[in-house]
Point group: C2
Chain length 225, copies 2
């Protein structure tokens, strides 16, 4: 593929913001990653992240390829959690890296400008480090207590968003226990987007749950103007 056919991401890097849905397969309910993604996109999600620490690489790749199609059709961004190899193989827009994953610097060296890189940060120091290493956005949390991440530390509250906004201009995606009731406080603190997991995957009507959050974000954005 020539450069003219596929402009480099660095030339027009999309901004990560809005409703950011992290998929979780729920075998007990018979809900797959792709189904969560499809419902979230129908509800207006701007970003989907595929996260599955238990799947085999082949299973993860197959789910990623399906979600790549869905997000492309919806004009939404697609990230793979942790797995840079799967992100590249599925032609995802990016990879999200937590503290147990590849260092941001290593991932940037391997992926060049082929992938956007999201990095988890729970302190201003981690935020600065990720920014210097080449991250494109920050996943900041956990803001509130959450049943979705067993190894999460104590909730940080919305104050962490203000503290991190003070040291970097990278987009902040707040994560951890966010739902329709507390999302407004997160946006008021300056988050550029909110990431949800249980709020969608555990909802009776996943599309309605996503739409509700998207409207909440839009309403807030309009009032800010």
């Amino acid at each position: 593929m020539t450069r003219a056919m596929k402009p480099k991401m660095s030339e027009a890097r999309p901004r990560v913001e809005g409703l950011y849905v992290i998929t979780r397969a729920d075998p007990c309910r018979g809900v797959s990653h792709a189904e969560v993604a499809r419902a979230a996109l129908e509800g207006g999600a701007r970003v989907v992240q595929l996260r599955d620490k238990n799947a085999t690489t082949r299973q993860l790749l197959e789910a990623a390829q399906t979600i790549r199609q869905l997000t492309r059709q919806a004009g939404a961004l697609f990230f793979v959690n942790d797995r840079l190899d799967v992100a590249l193989a599925a032609e995802a827009d990016g990879v999200h890296l937590g503290e147990n994953d590849l260092p941001v610097e290593t991932a940037r060296k391997l992926a060049g400008s082929r992938l956007l890189i999201g990095a988890s940060a729970s302190t201003p120091e981690e935020a600065l480090e990720a920014a210097e290493a080449g991250a494109d956005y920050l996943g900041v949390g956990c803001i509130f207590a959450t049943p979705s991440k067993e190894d999460a530390g104590p909730p940080l509250g919305v104050g962490i968003i203000r503290r991190i906004k003070a040291v970097t201009s990278l987009p902040i995606i707040a994560v951890g226990g966010i739902n329709a009731k507390n999302a407004r406080a997160v946006l008021e603190a300056g988050a550029d987007g909110i990431a949800v997991l249980s709020a969608i995957s555990r909802a009776q009507d996943m599309t309605a749950a996503a739409r509700n959050l998207v409207e909440l974000i839009s309403t807030f954005a309009v009032r800010q103007k």
Copy 2:
């Protein structure tokens, strides 16, 4: 780095053969991946593969970086099981792909000539498919019953080595339940190398166990000439 400084692998692709040790950390015995690798290399292993399906990516990368140093010092090859991203990040010689991992073709597309690719095969059809997709060697097994791989099918016996040798010239690394007692039969069937896991990691003296197998392989090779 210029081309002159680092010749492409395709220009002088090393042949995968000899004693191929798959590391297994044994926390109960306090044995790390690096310690298995070190002992195996001291015993003369020509290839080390890091395999750990439970480690985090960061843990795997750290083990890979240590084993990369050890194998480089010993002039041995280093493969990472499954994880193409970790193999690239640690500058391993290659990645080994099983049926639950990335397809060989996908991995070849992503890695180009930066990595050797090993592929598991348990039938001549799978062997041919892997060869056409760009594999550099085949891991063939399980030859004998093994406690190391719970999801292994019934043992194939040494006959599978002859059957696969009949359809491809790729090096064959036989795997599965191989030890000092049955290795000779495996070599007589035409294997270019033997991969061991328990035979090293469960040995009281891992270096002696590796040396014993290396001598067995050398003696066999000399007699063949």
